[in-house]
Symmetry: C2
Subunit: 419 residues, 2 copies
């Protein structure tokens, strides 16, 4: 299966992507629906041959992630294909939150603006194109919730069947959003790690052979979608890397791909090379990477998740070791906050910036506050935090409700002391 050159057809279908390459041993493979190195079991990544990519080409492109198609493993005509077309979400200048925390410059990359209101639309958009190229007819995934909705929607838009797997007991908003697009939604008695193991089993079975699992056999393509967060942040800052960035950690893939995206922008000459620090954020109830960081370990000890931040509840994060490497290399760190702080941070972000984040956004905002408090973040440096999902999907996490219920009269209004 290992090859040195790819066919012209494959090259066109994957844009600048030329091969899959093992992140551990460097072994190269043809662009195909595989995800682990057959020699060392390391994860496979897309390798590229980038041509000239200019700011002008990008700025005149579609107002979604396809403006960066010259840096992504997608068909060159991707903008004409049926796809959810996510991305180019707002980079919000968060002056009121910055003032409250004592920061000079803070932006929130608000990915709740994506079609199904989480960053998962980005990764699924790439996976759908790979699934189409490989001839899969069913789109699938193991999911903590957001991914299930993104896959359901993308399959509907592109005309695939879909069947998604979630742990039983997810938030209602996430279950309904996964099911409403008409595909199958199968709940697994167990946590996300159980769901993931089940999917790996299914993929080896004939029952799953026409199935594209976005985050399993399509993972090398899928994961590249997170690079677009880096591209957008840099473009929206005026083609500049931020000095500090805080990113939530589930599998750790998003954080590693944002770092990869920044590196690529430097490599192709779209931004100036300058130091940046990457900070990872976890919920205390599922903080295997933060714990490894605290203890100075380079191996991740899996945990059994117990946190309201269900979209981050991956107890055995595949990219955890790479997250540790990046935090070390850039001078950042990996921190965690408890459930009470998560809820408080959701409200802080809502109250100061009008952004209603899901629990994962509470984790990121809470860790930002903790980093400032503990002096680990430079309050003078240009800082970005990533909000990956929408509060409407985790309604039960906040106890917000009506201030009062009254009869429709001024007297009743004044009697409640509301005037």
């Amino acid at each position: 299966m290992a090859i040195t050159a790819t066919e012209p057809t494959a090259v066109r279908a994957f844009g600048p992507g030329t091969a899959l390459s093992c992140r551990e041993c460097g072994e190269r493979y043809e662009l195909s629906p595989i995800f682990a190195c057959q020699f060392c079991f390391g994860p496979l990544e897309v390798a590229y041959d980038f041509g000239d990519v200019t700011r002008e080409e990008i700025e005149s492109g579609p107002k979604n992630i396809w403006r960066y198609r010259s840096l992504l493993p997608v068909p060159t005509n991707v903008a004409d294909l049926p796809n959810m077309n996510p991305g180019l979400t707002p980079l919000v200048r968060a002056d009121r939150l910055a003032a409250e925390l004592g920061l000079r410059s803070l932006h929130v990359k608000d990915d709740s603006a994506n079609p199904t209101h989480s960053f998962k639309d980005r990764v699924v958009a790439i996976a759908v194109e790979a699934a189409r190229t490989f001839g899969f007819t069913t789109l699938s995934c193991s999911s903590t919730g957001n991914l299930a909705g993104a896959v359901g929607a993308a399959a509907a838009r592109a005309g695939f069947d879909s069947c998604v797997f979630i742990p039983a007991g997810l938030e209602e908003g996430k279950v309904v959003m996964a099911a409403v697009y008409g595909g199958k939604v199968v709940a697994i008695d167990g946590n996300y790690d159980d769901v993931n193991r089940f999917c790996s089993e299914l993929i080896g079975d004939e029952a799953g052979e026409s199935w594209g699992f976005t985050n399993v056999n399509l993972r090398p393509y899928y994961a590249e979608g997170s690079k677009t967060l880096a591209y957008e942040i840099a473009e929206q800052l005026g083609w500049r890397l931020p000095e500090q960035i805080v990113i939530p950690i589930a599998s750790g893939s998003q954080l590693t791909k944002i770092d990869k995206g920044f590196q690529e922008l430097v490599k192709v000459g779209l931004v100036e090379d300058r130091p940046y620090k990457v900070f990872g954020a976890q919920a205390t109830g599922c903080s295997p990477v933060a714990k490894a960081w605290e203890n100075g370990h380079d191996v991740i000890q899996p945990v059994k998740p117990d946190t309201i931040a269900k979209s981050l509840a991956i107890g055995n994060p595949a990219d955890g070791p790479y997250v540790l490497d990046i935090a070390t290399r850039t001078g950042g760190s990996v921190e965690h906050v408890g459930d009470d702080e998560i809820v408080d941070a959701i409200k802080l972000l809502a109250r100061t910036e009008g952004i209603f984040a899901e629990t994962a956004g509470g984790v990121t905002t809470g860790v930002l506050r903790k980093l400032v408090r503990e002096g680990k973040l430079d309050p003078e440096a240009e800082t970005v935090i990533v909000n990956t999902g929408d509060g409407l999907k985790t309604l039960n996490a906040v106890d917000s409700g009506v201030t009062a219920t009254i009869k429709p009269s001024l007297a009743a209004f004044k009697a409640e002391g509301l005037a």
Copy 2:
């Protein structure tokens, strides 16, 4: 209060806006927080003196509604002020829905992509700027739900206090979204029309004198925000008016302002003048405008709403007569669909296009299908429908849930007949 010229300061704060003008008798007033003509009680609208507006200027502007600031009553520096910056939502080419309905060309303008996931962010964005200019310190509204969330978020972003009024018994998602931004949320025992009457009372009282009610005393500014839907649709079609458009009706304001927006684009020379038909969509359980249309009346008989489409549940729609005028003038019509059809249409749109609409979007999609079925819509003409809100806010309307719950094993999966 009637004047013939406005001060230079006022003109700058409201961009091309020059005065308020009575829609009924044409009497002109200074740009101020008033909403009804003191002579004939007609609604006041912003009058403009548009300068040269070019496609190039718009296309190089911000990727939100402020790209059209030369056509809106907002400060010329609006893009630098703290605002939710809504708009430039996707115009989705809906080929799969079109095929299912037998239409040649269909697009969905998906306004669930706005910051708080409804079109209300557009109107509130304009109202916030007017509130700032007039020196109000509290932002308020009467709301069927979506507006409350948009006002709460916008007030938080811009640093206003907020107090919003909703009918008791709204969907949980809408209540939480209104409350989470930290402002006051007051539920009124009654329906939307009761809430609206209460707000008119409050506005005349000293308790409300520093309050900007987005849809009462700021209504002339607020309502202009809906014009941006027309601007975006035309720009996204390649600077062309659609031939047919289906728009939901609550107060009727959105429909009348989309029509106004199309007319303005023709007037300033940004698009070619060509005929278009405007169709209004209501839920059968609150269809006073559709009933008037059916019966050939030009007066609207108020109704007591009883429908799952709560965001459209305005029994006494202020702009109803203007909607009838526009449907007549353009050769469109006003139709209604029942609650079962609304739910079915939500699922149809989700299944074919991956768009999860709230009940109002179900009304629009359901009416589209009805219009095609009854031969009232030309299947060959370029058609656009407007989805104004997000399914996550009306979860209970759809009964979607998991297909099955299983143990994490292939055997269990196959036993359920899912393979």
